[in-house]
């Protein structure tokens, strides 16, 4: 019986990288949607939630299309950086980032929309800039929402299947994440291996989520 932990490690790596990227992208995006006066936000807001509606395989297919070397973006990436999106870990990251975007942006956006305006105004009156107010006043008081976004994104990415299958191509060591590996083993009638992977994935996920949730409890809870 060959138990290979690589798919598990790949899943964890993907989830971690995706979550961190989305934290960096998600906060400014959520801030813009919540506070911008531009009408563009009425278009961007539903766009952000679109991945919730799309079948993961469809999303994966769109990504393959957009980044195909036949078209500009894919061609540019390949010639300038030697990077290929299809069947690569990079492709998985791109797919996961789009797919989990609403899971990070929406809780943060909700927290920002419900944030007491008077606290922000108090900071502005004291002469602080928007950036300083965001970093020193707003973010420390929405830690709960940030954690929720992180937890949801991480969990969601760990369990991803459709996007990973379409974009990744099931390449061992590169794009064969745990979810794909389990599917593989079931298809190949290797139920024992499949069960092993499933159990380990569940236990690891459960432990990580438990840690995240308990850290969230110790954070400063507000509103």
């Amino acid at each position: 019986m060959h138990y290979d932990l690589q798919p598990l490690l790949l899943s964890l790596k993907l989830a971690l990288v995706t979550s961190l990227i989305l934290l960096v992208i998600g906060i400014p995006l959520a801030y813009w949607i919540a506070f911008s006066k531009s009408r563009l936000r009425y278009v961007v807001e539903p766009l952000v939630s679109l991945p919730l509606v799309l079948p993961p395989t469809v999303l994966g297919f769109y990504i393959l299309l957009v980044f195909s070397p036949k078209y500009f973006l894919g061609h540019f990436l390949e010639s300038a950086f030697g990077m290929r999106v299809a069947f690569s870990f990079l492709g998985l990251i791109i797919g996961s980032v789009f797919f989990s975007l609403p899971f990070m942006v929406n809780p943060i956006k909700a927290a920002l929309e419900n944030f007491p305006v008077s606290l922000i105004e108090a900071s502005y009156v004291l002469g602080k800039s928007r950036r300083e107010t965001l970093i020193k006043i707003i973010l420390p008081n929405i830690k709960s929402a940030l954690w929720v976004g992180l937890i949801m994104t991480f969990a969601h990415t760990l369990g991803e299947f459709g996007v990973v299958l379409m974009v990744g191509g099931n390449i061992p060591g590169e794009t064969r994440t745990a979810s794909i590996a389990i599917f593989n083993e079931v298809e190949g009638l290797n139920y024992d291996t499949a069960i092993f992977y499933s159990l380990v994935l569940m236990m690891v996920s459960f432990c990580i989520l438990t840690v995240f949730y308990s850290l969230n409890r110790k954070q400063f809870k507000i509103f």
Binding site: P116, S118, A122, S123, Y124, V125, G127
Partner: protein, 287 residues
């Protein structure tokens, strides 16, 4: 601006001398808070001109709008706006400009009687303590103007009286131009030099507290302000219970006298036609 009756218009034209302590007085929705916020730069009027100490803060015609942070005003909001994730000391330190000395924080902790609380978060403070911190935070940067938006209205009367005294003493020490928004007659009487009464978005009266509130037809020997808490009709007269400070006084009034008045109406209770008597009072409350 938003009023209880819907969207209203704020139309105001006034001149205030630097160093004055003035009050905007009026009912809710009259426009006093909006006016204060416009001065602070938190809200912008559609049209207007604001100049302070030779500096133009707002000019709608020339598209000038100095951001609130650059107007160097101190603002105390009506509800608690202490930053909840910071201690008292951190709240005050946050307010300081980068160049200012940290000792200023200690000085204000002393002045506002907050020593011992400096490492507490606002959630652990009482209402009075919170507003003292809010005041200190507004003053720590030595602003040119202090704007107080009904800062004491959420406090009970004893605390309110005490903090009123503190505000007066701060004003006397710093001589900072102060604008107070209040709907409490007694507070306004006590604290300010000049009052602007705002009704439905317009200034209807201005002057010293005496000029503005006292109805000169009444030449009584005592005048107290209070609010009606009960009216009981007894035969041809009404027994009106009025809360004055922490005391309740019963006054007999005819139907004509109480026409238009009801529970919570602000009234003035005065004596006339006889000499008051003076009695020694050992257990009298100072309020």
């Amino acid at each position: 601006m938003n009023t209880p009756q819907g969207l209203g218009e704020l139309n105001v034209d006034l001149n205030i001398d630097n160093g004055d302590f003035i009050t905007f007085y009026g009912d809710s929705g009259a426009g006093k808070t909006t006016l204060l916020r416009i001065l602070a730069g938190l809200t912008n009027p559609e049209q207007g001109y604001i100049e302070f100490d030779g500096q133009v803060w707002f000019d709608s015609q020339k598209n000038v709008n100095l951001p609130t942070g650059q107007r160097k005003v101190g603002f105390v909001f009506q509800d608690c706006t202490l930053f909840p994730h910071m201690t008292v000391r951190e709240n005050l330190r946050f307010a300081l400009t980068p160049k200012a000395s940290v000792d200023i924080v200690d000085k204000w902790l002393d002045v506002m009687d907050l020593k011992g609380f400096e490492n507490q978060r606002s959630v652990n403070l009482s209402g009075g303590q919170k507003q003292r911190v809010a005041l200190a935070r507004a003053l720590v940067n030595e602003p040119k103007m202090l704007l107080l938006d009904e800062p004491l209205s959420a406090l009970d009367i004893d605390l309110r009286l005490k903090l009123q005294d503190e505000i007066v003493s701060i004003y006397q020490k710093t001589k900072i131009m102060t604008i107070l928004v209040s709907h409490d007659i007694s507070e306004v009487f006590k604290l300010s030099g000049k009052i602007f009464i705002i009704e439905k978005g317009k200034i209807v009266k201005s002057g010293s507290p005496q000029e503005v509130f006292v109805n000169n037809n009444l030449s009584g020997k005592f005048k107290f302000t209070g609010e009606i808490i009960e009216i009981i009709k007894e035969g041809v007269v009404n027994i009106v219970s009025v809360r004055i400070g922490n005391n309740i006084t019963r006054v007999v009034a005819t139907d004509e006298e109480i026409a238009g008045l009801g529970i919570a109406s602000k009234v003035m209770v005065a004596t006339k036609a006889f000499n008051p008597i003076i009695l020694r009072c050992e257990k009298c409350d100072s309020s």
